[in-house]
């Protein structure tokens, strides 16, 4: 068990990182710990830093639809504060206990991505503590801005390997006045066909989710738009998946129905986001991991182990994406001593395989 430090200020955080870089001591970064079973299995780092001490909501500007918040703020707490003013961080994917920094570092998008886009589109400004303890700011607080390089986008999904997110400014949406779920049951071929037809015919549905035996569509709009499409009935949001270990798959959206059919043939549970191209798959054995990855690759996509016990994480990423060398140079620019989150930079796995 490693010693966990919980800095109360960003300066204290930067000082811890500076010291660790100088010594070459690896440091694990912790948010809510809700998505930490990820990456190759490594020895736990000697030190860990928690962002729990940096958890304030600094300013919410309801009239401008923006909020500035520290990374350690629990997502639930932020959403409750925003909801009190009729607003929401629409693109954030929720896991119980997740923090703002964790949602961004894992690029966890909400189920409404089809309409509102991925979570990376909501990040306007980031304050980052780099691996060597520099505190830098990038982007701007306005809802639109192209001044300087898009470091905010680079940080989203980087799993904390470029720096520790300290503070962010996010673009918000109003909480929809009315919305509704519609569901249908049947076999995968029929449901996939119905779902594909609906994402063409409905104007900007919030979500079209395909699971074994069930299709769920969420529509956001005035009451007049909340009528069940042909072949569907009013229903509830899908239940949270019951599996313990999860892979996330990305394929071109047109390949998703075929991917879903292949997953059913493998007997694996899944939630496919039609129109988006992402699919969450429940896995239980190393054989499942290999089969899901082969299927994803056969459909011109990729599959990573997103949350799983060690025995399923022998090869969490799959084949390296193009540009790994370039990613390595970017990492050098932000974490020159490579102390942050050992193992979670994809280039490390490539290096160790080579």
């Amino acid at each position: 068990m490693s010693a966990v430090r919980t800095p109360a200020t960003r300066e204290e955080l930067a000082e811890l990182l500076r010291a660790a870089s100088a010594e070459g001591t690896p440091v694990g970064i912790r948010g809510g710990g809700s998505a930490s079973r990820r990456g190759p299995v490594t020895d736990p780092p000697a030190r860990a830093i928690s962002t729990a001490g940096l958890a304030r909501i600094l300013s919410h500007e309801p009239a401008d639809l923006t909020v500035t918040v520290e990374a350690g703020c629990p997502l639930g707490e932020l959403q409750a504060a925003l909801a009190a003013r009729g607003q929401t961080w629409m693109q954030a994917g929720a896991r119980p206990g997740a923090t703002v920094g964790g949602v961004l570092s894992t690029a966890a998008s909400s189920h409404r991505r089809l309409r509102y886009g991925p979570v990376r589109d909501s990040l306007l400004q980031v304050v980052l503590a780099t691996g060597d303890g520099r505190i830098i700011s990038a982007g701007g607080k306005t809802v639109k801005g192209v001044a300087g390089y898009d470091i905010p986008r680079l940080v989203v999904g980087a799993l904390g390997t470029l720096g520790v997110i300290v503070e962010v400014t996010l673009k918000l949406w109003p909480v929809p006045a009315s919305s509704g779920w519609f569901t249908a049951t049947g076999d995968v071929a029929r449901l996939a066909e119905l779902g594909e037809a609906l994402r063409r015919e409905l104007h900007l549905p919030a979500a079209v989710l395909l699971e074994p035996g069930r299709l769920s569509v969420e529509v956001i709009g005035p009451p007049a738009d909340l009528v069940p499409p042909d072949g569907m009935a009013a229903g509830d949001a899908p239940a949270a998946p019951a599996w313990d270990a999860e892979m996330t798959v990305g394929v071109p959206p047109t390949r998703l129905p075929a991917l879903a059919a292949d997953l059913e043939a493998l007997g694996l549970p899944y939630v496919a986001e039609l129109g988006v191209g992402t699919c969450r798959v429940g896995v239980a054995t190393p054989g499942h991991v290999a089969a899901v990855r082969d299927t994803a690759i056969a459909h011109e996509g990729h599959a990573v182990v997103a949350d799983a016990p060690p025995e399923l994480r022998d090869d969490p990423w799959g084949p390296p994406p193009p540009g790994v060398a370039l990613m390595g140079r970017l990492r050098d620019a932000f974490d020159p001593a490579h102390i942050l989150n050992p193992g979670l930079f994809i280039g490390d796995a490539v290096r160790s395989v080579a």
Binding site: P118, G145, V146, I151, L162, T254
Partner: protein, 480 residues
Amino acid sequence: MATIPLSAVDRFRDILGTDRVLEQHTERLLYGKDGSIAEGDCGLVLLCETTDEVSACMRAAHELGLPVVPRGSGTGLAGGAIPLDGSVVLSVARMRRVISVDPETPCAWVEPGVLNLDVTTGVRHLGLHYAPDPSSQAACSIGGNVATNAGGPHCLASGVTSQHILGMEIVLPDGEVLTVGGPAPDPPGYDLRGFIVGGEGTLGVVTKVCVRLMRDAPTVTTLLVDFPSVTSAGAAVRDVIAEGVIPAAMEMMDRTMVRAVEQFVHAGLPVDSAALLLVEVDGTPAQVADQAAAVERICRDSGAASVRTARDEAERALFWKARKNAFGAVARIAPNYYLHDCVVPRTRLVEVLENIAAIGERHGLIIMNVFHAGDGNLHPLIAFDRRDPVQVEKVFAAGKDIIEACVAVGGTLSGEHGIGLEKRDYMPLQFAPLDLDAQCRAREAFDPDGRLNPRKVLPAGAKCGELILDAGSLPEGTWL
């Protein structure tokens, strides 16, 4: 004027043939300019037609140690495509193929020289469009849009270019060809795609782009609202957003601009209006009815004199023609214009507009406003005559005041045009030395030798924190 050694010219001719390597003085002069007011110094022009050619040229430039400026249509307003000190200009304007259209995803792979409007024109029969729509959309290229992370009126609801690019093929400064992203979302590793968008040609030469297409909304309503003052129009914009209504577009034009445009386009605009709002709402019929009613109510509460709804598609097209031809109409007022691009929080819109008017008066200049009010993206336009050096000096001084006024209320230097050359030396207004150093390091991960579009985006000395700045004047190495 710097010259490229003959042996180098021969090397490029071996790759492209003689016709597509331009070295004549008059030819090079044309490529020394872009849509901004400055003019630079182009050493050689390469007209590439394929990825292989771009890669071979980049490899040759790498081996010869030559600086390269990538160029699309050259319509950029921040001087991003202006070559300095005899740089080689690599044009992708001839790479104009639509490679494939996938109407189901929907998305399309296109070459970087394809014009923005041609993407939409090519898929309109499928009920699809490409959302970002800069005013220059009939002339600007997708490659240039990717470089600047271009915007446009309809980015209010649907987001700027970075939200509409799924992937790209890019040639790095040493000639390596890389494909990042594509229709399959969230590939493992860093989001290189997202970082490359907005790179202003300093990270690589983009040679193929996968653009996200959107389905046309079933219903669209366009409102033209006439206000008795800029202040009341600004308040209406603020209140619409604050109520949680996000229109597809919300554009403002002030009186000087309305008059210039009306003489030019004859759209029947109310020329006595102090400020006009052009508001578009789209969606299902029920959504559109709800939103249009809310916009109209809020505008009337803010003191709108009249609200006119476009009767049909022809009138809607006329309203938009008026908006998108605004910059052309300025020619009736003065031969040249200098266009700014700051963004301010929408809650500060009114005070900033009043401040800009005061800056114009103080410098004795005509400043006109036509801009993306819904996201606070101002476009103060200073009309002037470049032949008058006194006026030119005032234009730069007023521009500096405008930028400082916007940043002072929490604004940003550029909303959609980019930093390029013209705002480079303003970067320290928004970023601390450590921030600029971090940007510099990230750029060097792509271009360690600093040969790609050198001296753009980041001020000299950004890496060591010893900044050499010259904001508020014509950038060194350029002239009018």
